[in-house]
């Protein structure tokens, strides 16, 4: 039964290629806008807190509270409050994406060897230069790892937006009555493809950042 379902799903993909592509683009728009906003907020905040060695409590608290928030409850809350809409779902997705980026950025900068930072300060680098030329390059692999986790979370959660009619591939996944199980599976495979592609690209970026850190390795 499962085998024939996969056959049907793989038939559904070329038969509805245009529709699936449109829904995939909608999902990408939902997910990557939210990821971008989350990065705009979390990266500067994490860099600053980590550089000042302040706000350990904030970084840890945000990360554990962020992980504890059930995405469906979060989306439900914003819809009960503001109604269905692109930006209301954006808020929920940004809240999902923020914690891993903030925590990883904070610890990436915070855990840079104090001797290295001291040496840079001794060489006369300003605080901004220390942050951008020393701490940022050294912490980059961990920061990208945080963005990678956030990307997978946000892409997965954006399908949940479909339950409330939020658009994207979730619309198909949450509507088995219209598209059938084959349609649901086909859409799920598209979501996985987007998630794996994003995770794979960020994984490559992470590896490149490691190599830049230790050119001899």
């Amino acid at each position: 039964m499962l085998a024939s379902l996969f056959v049907d799903a793989f038939r559904f993909i070329p038969d509805n290629a245009h529709f699936l592509l449109q829904k995939t683009l909608e999902l990408a728009e939902l997910a990557f806008t939210a990821l971008g906003i989350a990065m705009l907020i979390a990266l500067p905040l994490g860099l600053w807190l980590g550089h000042r060695h302040r706000g350990l409590f904030v970084a840890l608290g945000v990360s554990s509270l962020g992980r504890a928030l059930p995405s469906i409850a979060l989306i439900g809350f914003f819809i009960a409050w503001l109604g269905v809409g692109f930006w209301n779902i954006q808020i929920a997705l940004v809240v999902i994406g923020l914690p891993p980026i903030l925590t990883n950025t904070y610890f990436a900068v915070e855990s840079v060897d104090a001797d290295v930072v001291e040496a840079a300060r001794g060489m006369g680098l300003t605080e901004t230069q220390i942050l951008t030329r020393v701490e940022l390059p050294l912490g980059l692999p961990l920061i990208i790892a945080g963005i990678r986790i956030a990307a997978v979370f946000v892409i997965a959660t954006s399908t949940i937006a479909g339950i409330v009619g939020g658009g994207g591939l979730g619309d198909i996944i949450a509507d088995q009555a219209t598209y059938g199980l084959a349609g649901v599976l086909a859409a799920a495979l598209c979501v996985s493809a987007v998630a794996l592609l994003a995770a794979g690209l960020l994984g490559l970026a992470q590896r490149a950042a490691y190599r830049r850190m230790a050119p001899s390795a």
């Binding site: 039964m1 499962l2 379902l5 554990s64 509270l65 992980r67 504890a68 928030l69 059930p70 995405s71 469906i72 409850a73 979060l74 439900g76 809350f77 819809i79 009960a80 997978v152 997965a156 399908t159 949940i160 479909g162 339950i163 409330v164 591939l169 979730g170 996944i173 949450a174 088995q176 199980l181 649901v184 599976l185 859409a187 799920a188 979501v191 996985s192 998630a195 794996l196 995770a199």
Partner: protein, 241 residues
């Protein structure tokens, strides 16, 4: 693993006829409703949610540990097992629940299989990283002391990997509590049930949504704290001060 059948249990519709002012205005948190329906709605859902989480994380941990032993002992398998758990994690949970429904029916098994699959993603990576993270000079001194391969594993590598393993267990438990709420989209079980009941009402029944969501968040934070304390108890040598 045999699941049990899950009963229907319809939504608890507030009777607006003799309802309080708070309920009539669809307030965010009407304490009267929470008191009244703690016993018939919220508490049973909470107990079901705890059951789901304990079983899913328990089984997931055993599978992840065995897989990690394979990946740790034979490094060739590490890449493929890791990639496999990545692919499992990338599948959207709502889709996975729907795909299993015709196979395993309206039972908790349908909820548990995806939950277990998702825990593998976090647990496998953390256990292998913990075991591989033991410094080479520590292993060297273990060998110098005449410890066998088995003794080295149980007395040196495993204890030193405990923080990484417990870290993974904490993330996996919290994630499981969160993902389990989504399962109620299909199967009326756990804390997701009152959440979806509330979402299904014309104007979204805010009190039920907020009360059930708050319970899910509190459960996650409580589980996280409990595991953090367990980690402290298991690694007395890490207690500085």
């Amino acid at each position: 693993m045999s699941g049990w059948l899950v009963g229907g249990g319809g939504p608890v519709i507030p009777s607006f006829g003799h309802a309080s002012k708070c309920l009539k205005n669809n307030g965010w948190f009407c304490t009267g409703w929470v008191h009244e329906h703690w016993g018939d709605t919220l508490q049973p859902a909470l107990v079901q949610h705890v059951k789901l989480t304990v079983i899913a994380v328990g089984i997931g941990f055993v599978i992840a540990f065995l897989l990690a032993l394979v990946g740790f002992r034979w490094h060739v398998f590490d890449g493929p097992i890791g990639a496999f758990s990545d692919v499992l994690y990338a599948l959207p949970s709502i889709a996975l629940f729907q795909l299993l429904l015709p196979v395993t029916g309206i039972t908790t098994t349908t909820i548990l299989i995806p939950l277990i699959a998702y825990t593998l993603f976090v647990l496998y990576r953390n256990i292998v990283a913990g075991l591989n993270g033991v410094p080479a000079d520590v292993l060297e001194s273990a060998r110098g002391m005449g410890l066998t391969r088995g003794q080295t594993f149980f007395r040196v590598e495993l204890p030193l990997a405990v923080p990484a393993i417990m870290g993974g267990l904490r993330v996996a438990t919290v994630a499981t509590i969160s993902i389990a709420t989504v399962a109620a989209f299909l199967i009326h079980y756990g804390l997701g049930a009152p959440i979806f009941d509330a979402l299904g009402m014309p104007d979204i029944f805010r009190t039920e949504l907020v009360a059930a969501s708050a319970l899910a968040i509190l459960l996650a934070l409580a589980a996280d704290t409990l595991l953090a304390l367990l980690q402290r108890a298991l690694t007395p040598w890490n207690r500085i001060r």
